[in-house]
């Protein structure tokens, strides 16, 4: 038994808190500070508030990370309050413009904001000991591999397959079983996978590199509770790109999820009768296979791809494939209908699960923390690390894969990078007009907010960030940079001024950090 909102429910065997809640048809999700909408999407790579719950008094836990145990007390963090009414009709930063003429009213209002702000759990009731094993913080550990590969996606696997080095450490955010499934899906088409982990090679699954100091000291967090300091001689950045949602009205409704999320949490598709797959660009067939393993898509909408790719998709999924785009989604608490524009006509289609893939945002956070030189990518409309033409960014840092350009051949790129071959680049893509819809899912900044700010004197991205909190939520920009940049360019005609990316790349528990060995950190500086 566990309880949710003080009601008792039966424990689900071997399930996470999220799985248990969803199977009991309990809501997961949270309203945001501005309360425009649900922060709905449980996201795989970043600690986003969308799936936050309070468990045994500990707030802001990702429901997907905590295993359900008998006797757990679970509280939702989605309390719809009066501020919803104020906020939904106002633009970003509304509280700057009101209630300040008379001091007493101002104080009343500021306290009101504070009171209604149920953003994340109740700090007053945080216990000394939560009794959640994921939060049993462990002492830090130091690893000194010769080669460090960050990311075990297609590029990382490519690097691994071509390297002869035995002393390699690979870190990836995904759990081991998904990485294995991914390798299986790849091996069919491209190479023999049995040679990846030989010698003293080691895989650190469920691990995110959250900070870097110099080129020879990385800090990573494994699960929620353990810090690793990694001191490699050289590093391959294969951090890839994130699936982000294109801008269209309704892109924030529950049931509109990204491809990567579906791969991570296939059970989200359970019970979906009308799933629809929307590909903004072509994605690797191995990824497509993992998506179709989760749910059978009878309809696929593809925005940009050649005829050959479309017939491959048709054959592989045995589905109807339309050329076009999804232009809006409708539904109050869950997606119900989508509008599709295809061959100059628009039509409505019933849909209870919209999976979006192919719109990518490169994961440049580590490259930025490493202070690598960046250059503007026309593919992504944002800066990516600059290389010497052979995938090298500096003496000891290499970069390859979707981090550099959205090539479907990230695997071949990884192989080329490991062998030090010359880079090949695909042609640049035409720009598509951006639409409206949610941009920042943490702070609830939408496309209209960008327009509003551009018209009201917040003329640079930096000012917009400071005014609205854009890029400053728990995902730290990982899901909004690209959409925000494109919308900004469209509104102002100005070049983007890239906001500084701050550590940590993912939120890290203070309890885990407090057990880290400070000497290992200061020792790393002299390396």
């Amino acid at each position: 038994m566990f309880d949710f909102r003080r009601k008792k429910y039966n424990t689900v065997e071997d399930a996470t808190v999220a799985e248990a809640l969803l199977q009991n048809k309990l809501p997961l999700g949270n309203y945001s500070f501005r309360l425009h909408s649900w922060r709905n999407e449980p996201h795989m790579l970043k600690e986003t508030p969308s799936a936050w719950v309070t468990v045994n008094g500990v707030p802001n836990l990702n429901a997907f990370r905590i295993k359900l145990r008998d006797g757990m007390h679970i509280e939702p963090q989605s309390k719809r309050r009066l501020s919803f009414l104020i906020a939904r009709h106002s633009r970003a930063g509304f509280y700057y413009r009101h209630f300040y003429y008379i001091n007493s009213i101002r104080h009343f209002f500021l306290n009101f904001i504070r009171k209604i702000n149920d953003y994340g759990g109740n700090a007053a009731s945080i216990p000394e000991d939560a009794g959640i094993s994921e939060l049993d913080f462990k002492s830090s550990e130091v690893l000194r591999p010769r080669t460090f590969v960050i990311g075990a996606g297609r590029a990382g696997i490519g690097v691994l397959s071509a390297l002869e080095d035995e002393d390699v450490l690979v870190a990836d955010v995904l759990p081991e079983e998904i990485i294995k499934r991914r390798i299986e899906a790849m091996s069919l088409e491209d190479f023999q996978s049995n040679n990846l982990f030989h010698g003293s090679r080691k895989l650190l699954a469920d691990t995110t590199v959250f900070a870097a100091e110099g080129e020879h000291l990385f800090a990573a967090v494994c699960g929620y509770n353990k810090i690793y300091f990694i001191k490699p001689e050289r590093t391959f950045l294969c951090t890839g790109a994130e699936d982000i949602k294109p801008l269209f009205p309704g892109n924030g409704i529950p049931g509109v999820i990204s491809g990567q999320t579906l791969i991570r949490y296939p059970f989200l598709a359970k019970g979906a009768s009308y799933p629809l797959l929307y590909l903004e660009n072509s994605i690797p067939l191995s990824t497509l296979k993992m998506l179709s393993d989760a749910v059978h898509f009878s309809t696929v909408v593809v925005r940009r791809a050649d005829d050959k790719y479309i017939s491959e998709v048709r054959e592989m999924l045995n589905a109807e494939v339309l050329r076009g785009n999804v232009s809006s989604a409708f539904g109050a608490r869950h997606v119900e209908t989508v509008k599709i524009q295809s061959e100059g006509k628009s039509s409505y289609m019933r849909c209870d699960l919209l999976v979006i893939s192919g719109r990518k945002q490169p994961r440049i956070e580590l490259a930025s923390l490493l202070k690598l030189k960046m250059s503007y990518s026309t593919h992504y409309s944002m800066p990516v690390p600059q290389t010497d033409g052979r995938y090298r960014c500096s003496e000891t840092i290499h970069a390859c894969g979707s981090l550099l350009s959205p090539s479907p051949d990230a695997l071949l790129q990884g192989i080329a990078a490991a062998e030090g071959r010359e880079e090949e680049h695909s042609e640049s893509m035409e720009k598509v007009e951006t639409g409206s819809g949610m941009i920042c899912f943490c702070m609830d900044v939408d496309a209209e907010d960008i327009e509003y700010m551009a018209e009201n004197g917040y003329s640079t991205l930096n000012r917009m960030k400071r005014f609205s909190g854009l890029f400053m939520g728990p995902c730290q920009g990982a899901r909004c940079f690209r959409n925000a940049f494109e919308k900004f360019e469209e509104c102002t005609g100005k070049e983007i001024d890239m906001p500084t990316i701050r550590p940590p790349v993912v939120p890290v528990f203070i309890g885990a950090l407090a057990l880290a060995d400070l000497e290992e950190v200061s020792g790393g500086k002299e390396h």
């Binding site: 001091n103 104080h107 700090a123 000394e128 900070a211 701050r502 407090a514």
Partner: protein, 383 residues
């Protein structure tokens, strides 16, 4: 031909903008702010937004209490909500030996009209639930101290200056400054400007231009870092300071805890965030607020303090150059002092009068050896 202006303000941080804003309100027409990057790109947009009158010395206390008075009227003056909330600063005391430091500071403050109160340990844990009670003796608390949103202040000042006809030139560093007869000539990438009055509000970089006029002030940079956590429901309102654990922390309106701890930091302009600080902070904060071990750090950033030998700002005209005015060396209190600084500096420019509150901070104090003695220090550094 140099463009003639009434007053040149170098540095578009809060002190530069505040001075320009006050000058415009005093009727100066052509006021130009030169900013090498974008407004607030230095410490002004990197601080925690704390405002307090709880200092250990009379001179700072008096200037700060005037600043607090000005802060509370600034939203209306700018027609822009700066989110100033006066929820107090609470200085918690963890050893019987420190009680005398706290009571001395409190007496000095009370003598100067600051109504700091002593809270017993039980009262402290009512104000700050979850605080470590072990060894807690009590706290100094002043309810009129507070916090504000630094970006809102910068935006409000920017809009106000533009509305009143002032000019802010971003990405326009002053590369050379020289004196010609009664005027200063400023060379920038946007041409030359001539002005009778120059306000150098470049904080830790004050000597870069001053040295061209033969001036060297004892000001040097030190990196400081801040941490923000994920948002939580409002737990406590005041800014919490512990001298023993080196911690300064408060909860923003959005619910994030924003805090700082003392760590060894380099004396240069490096403003990259360090792993060392993040871990130091984690180790220190759980001693003061044990529940924080279950809270996650979301952001960490760094800025530069401009330090002086007595950890107090250098304000006003420099020696014989009566029309070359510096605002520097704020030692971490530049933001909170800015309305008072802007007020008195602009008053000096308009009338030639150095106010009694400003006088102790004149640059000449270093030559006369009239240093300001601050007693509320933690680990021998200023908060």
């Amino acid at each position: 031909m140099a463009k003639s202006i009434d007053a040149a303000v170098i540095g578009g941080g809060v002190n530069g903008l505040m001075t320009a804003h006050k000058l415009l309100r005093r009727g100066f027409g052509r006021v130009v702010v030169f900013e090498s990057n974008v407004i607030g790109s230095g410490q002004s947009s990197r601080n925690a937004g704390g405002i307090r009158a709880q200092f250990g010395n009379e001179k700072t206390i008096r200037l700060m209490s005037e600043a607090i008075r000005l802060w509370s009227g600034l939203s209306r003056e700018l027609d822009y909500n700066i989110l100033f909330k006066q929820d107090g600063y609470i200085f918690v005391c963890y050893s019987d030996e420190d009680v005398s430091i706290y009571s001395r500071a409190r007496e000095t403050q009370n003598r100067n009209g600051i109504k700091t109160r002593w809270l017993e340990a039980d009262e402290v844990s009512e104000v700050v639930p979850g605080i470590n009670r072990e060894g807690l003796v009590g706290a100094n608390f002043h309810s009129l101290d507070g916090t504000l949103h630094h970006d809102a202040v910068l935006h409000g000042l920017m809009f106000s200056i533009e509305r009143n006809g002032g000019l802010i030139l971003e990405h326009t560093p002053v590369v050379r400054i020289s004196k010609r007869e009664d005027e200063f000539i400023l060379s920038t990438l946007n041409g030359e400007f001539s002005s009778q009055y120059v306000v150098n509000a470049t904080a830790s970089k004050v000597n870069e231009l001053s040295s061209q006029l033969g001036i060297k002030l004892p000001v040097w940079p030190v990196r400081r870092e801040l941490i923000a956590t994920e948002p939580l429901k409002s737990l406590f309102k005041p800014m919490l300071v512990s001298l023993k654990y080196g911690i300064t922390i408060h909860q923003s309106l959005r619910g994030e805890f924003v805090g700082h701890t003392h760590a060894e930091e380099p004396q240069n302009y490096d403003i990259s965030a360090s792993l060392n600080f993040m871990i130091r902070f984690a180790k220190d904060i759980i001693k003061l607020l044990p529940f924080m071990k279950y809270v996650k750090i979301v952001r960490q950033w760094a800025g530069t303090y401009d330090m002086t030998p007595d950890s107090s700002p250098v304000l006003g005209p420099v020696g014989e150059l009566a029309k070359y005015i510096v605002i520097a060396g704020s030692s971490g209190h530049g933001f909170m002092l800015s309305p008072a600084v802007g007020h008195y500096i602009s008053e000096y420019i308009a009338t030639g009068r150095v106010d009694e509150l400003l006088r102790p901070f004149l640059p000449e104090r270093f030559e006369r050896n009239e240093l300001i003695e601050e007693t509320l220090l933690s680990n021998s550094s200023v908060l």
